[in-house]
């Protein structure tokens, strides 16, 4: 098929987002270096919403550009989740950037939009080349964002750690891909999936090796144990909105990638990797939750909490062997819940840590006296992260648990419940600080800025609505017969 026959209109949302990101970049350097530019933040949110609208209404029933760029239900749903998540992160960062004069605003927003573009490419690509380009677009933009406070030692240290370990992870993924290409002569995930059964009979060791290399690289990107050591350092050092971005967008885009590669390319040898995923999920849940117990720094604690959440999200992959659509359903639902509760929690954390100039747990002391709305919202997000009833997090975890039990992985389900109970301890550490500690003497009452309170309100409302009436989303997912082509 020639390049001119392809249905390029499928890429409209990506092209529009890229054009608007470049536009924001251009407006930025036409309007001076160091001014405050709140309109650029609003423009980027608008760009993301336009792109989400196009994803929803332009693509129709989907299609593919030469098996390289695929638009199906899976990619559409993930793109909308990611775009809305980034819009929330940008609303959080607008307040942060106003407070910090040493951040170049236009570059921050355009880098974030380019990273989103990379995430969208990752979600829709079905070819190793596009998949790699999307991954690197997301990663390289994230490296820059992690080191964005360039006069601050912690931020640059986080960025250098991130880029070295991230580059190594990319090399691992590519090394695995190179063997798959060599044995099949194609980089298309679908074609590789077709030739894997015959190849696996001939060269079981090479296929297993390349799968393990890719798993190590992807495990780094989703910060699964034992490839998680970068996450706490980078999350602590980065500017807080970037931490929110990394823990929401990077992680979910990498999950979409893992699902695409393992469910399509390696599906026929699923009995080889489900046990691996079960082991990784168990390790991730156990070490994430246990190490989080000892943390004092809020962002570091959220990093370990994010690692533990990645463990919960890995459980459906481990039980997927007989329940593929079911597994994708639960992962997508938990992803929605995860975006809402994490973005909401980071909105509160970003505001509180900026106001008190401290990232220690005790910066939350007496938050209920200073701003009851934020304290109550934070409580709901934490309860949802811990997985207690009437929140979206509970429904998501319950679905994952039921999936694990029906998939006959009872031991994994038990580990999941036990580690969730451990996680109550550190989530309630926040709640104890907010309600049972007196605020410090010089802490005034907090007035929440409009953008932040919008994010918190939306996240709060949806977390509770999805917790009470999960049917809104689950019924929609049940009707999806084909997640992927």
């Amino acid at each position: 098929m020639s390049a001119f026959d392809a249905n390029w209109s499928l890429m409209t949302p990506e092209i529009v987002l890229a054009a608007l990101a470049l536009l924001i970049f251009t407006i930025d350097f036409m309007t001076g270096i160091r001014e405050k530019k709140p309109y650029l933040g609003r423009l980027s949110i608008l760009a993301l919403l336009v792109s989400a609208f196009l994803v929803l209404f332009m693509n129709g029933e989907g299609g593919a550009i030469a098996d390289i760029f695929i638009v199906d239900t899976f990619s559409t749903v993930f793109k909308i989740i990611l775009l809305l998540a980034v819009a929330m992160v940008i609303a959080i960062s607008m307040h942060y950037l106003d407070k910090n004069d040493d951040v170049y605003q236009g570059e921050f927003y355009s880098l974030m939009l380019f990273a989103t573009l990379g995430a969208m490419l990752m979600v829709s690509s079905a070819d190793f080349v596009t998949l790699f380009i999307g991954l690197e677009l997301l990663s390289i933009s994230s490296y820059c964002l992690a080191g964005f406070k360039k006069h601050q030692r912690k931020s640059t240290e986080a960025a250098i750690k991130y880029i070295i370990l991230g580059g190594t992870a990319s090399a691992f993924i590519l090394y695995g891909m190179s063997f798959l290409y060599g044995l099949t002569g194609t980089t298309s995930v679908v074609e590789i999936g077709k030739s894997i059964p015959a190849l696996y009979a001939d060269y079981p060791y090479i296929i297993t090796m390349s799968m393990l290399f890719m798993l190590a690289g992807f495990g780094f990107k989703i910060s699964a144990v034992p490839f998680h050591m970068w996450a706490p350092d980078v999350y602590e050092g980065s500017p807080t909105p970037v931490t929110a971005f990394l823990s929401v967008v990077s992680k979910l885009a990498a999950f979409a990638l893992v699902i695409r590669v393992f469910f399509v390319a390696f599906w026929s040898i699923s009995e080889e990797w489900t046990f691996l995923f079960a082991t990784i999920a168990a390790l991730t849940m156990i070490s994430g939750n246990f190490i989080a117990l000892t943390q004092k720094n809020v962002k570091r604690l959220m990093a370990y909490s994010g690692i533990a959440q990645a463990g919960y999200l890995l459980v459906p992959l481990a039980v997927s062997a007989n329940y593929a659509p079911m597994a994708v359903n639960t992962i997508v639902f938990y992803s929605v819940a995860y975006v809402l509760m994490t973005a909401g929690a980071f909105a509160v954390i970003s505001y509180v840590t900026e106001e008190s100039h401290s990232e220690e747990m005790n910066s939350f002391a007496g938050l209920y006296r200073r701003s009851p709305f934020m304290a109550i919202a934070m409580t709901v997000f934490l309860v949802s992260l811990a997985g207690l009833p009437f929140t979206a997090g509970f429904v998501g975890k319950a679905q994952i648990f039921i999936g694990a039990v029906t998939g006959e992985l009872l031991w994994l389900a038990v580990i999941m419940i036990l580690t969730s109970i451990i996680s109550f301890y550190y989530y309630f550490g926040f709640i104890k600080q907010m309600y049972m500690r007196e605020p410090k003497a010089n802490d005034a009452n907090l007035k929440v800025p409009a953008g932040l309170s919008a994010v918190i309100t939306i996240a709060l409302a949806l977390t509770i609505i999805l917790g009470v009436l999960p049917g809104i989303l689950t019924n929609f997912f049940m009707e999806v017969s084909h997640w992927m082509f």
Partner: protein, 102 residues
């Protein structure tokens, strides 16, 4: 004709040297160079497969071009971050960067 296993062995050796360097060296420029070495090991694999592999075709060479350009972008960002780090700390020794630890 040279057997493909020789090229794959070269790729594997380069990859291992790169990984060893990333894990053990203290000078950050050398660590970045070792990351590049790992990516070049991938390039050797891809080019070898695309010229004398069991299914030789041009896709591997195209993939290699993408890998080379992305690696260049990555090392450019890496060196920029490294300069920012040097200005803050007057050192690019890995051991001395220990603000962030559990």
């Amino acid at each position: 004709m040279v057997s493909i296993t020789l090229f794959l062995a070269l790729g594997a050796i380069l990859f291992c040297i790169g990984l060893y360097g990333v894990l053990t060296r203290r000078h950050l420029v050398i660590v970045l160079a070792c990351v590049e070495l790992m990516l070049n090991a991938v390039n050797i694999n891809l080019v070898a497969f695309s010229s004398i592999g069991p299914f030789a075709n041009v896709t591997g060479q195209v993939f290699t071009l993408f890998v080379i350009s992305v690696a260049a972008a990555e090392v450019a960002v890496g060196l920029a971050i490294l300069i920012a780090l040097y200005r803050n700390r007057d050192s690019i020794d890995v051991i001395k960067h220990d603000l962030l630890r559990w």
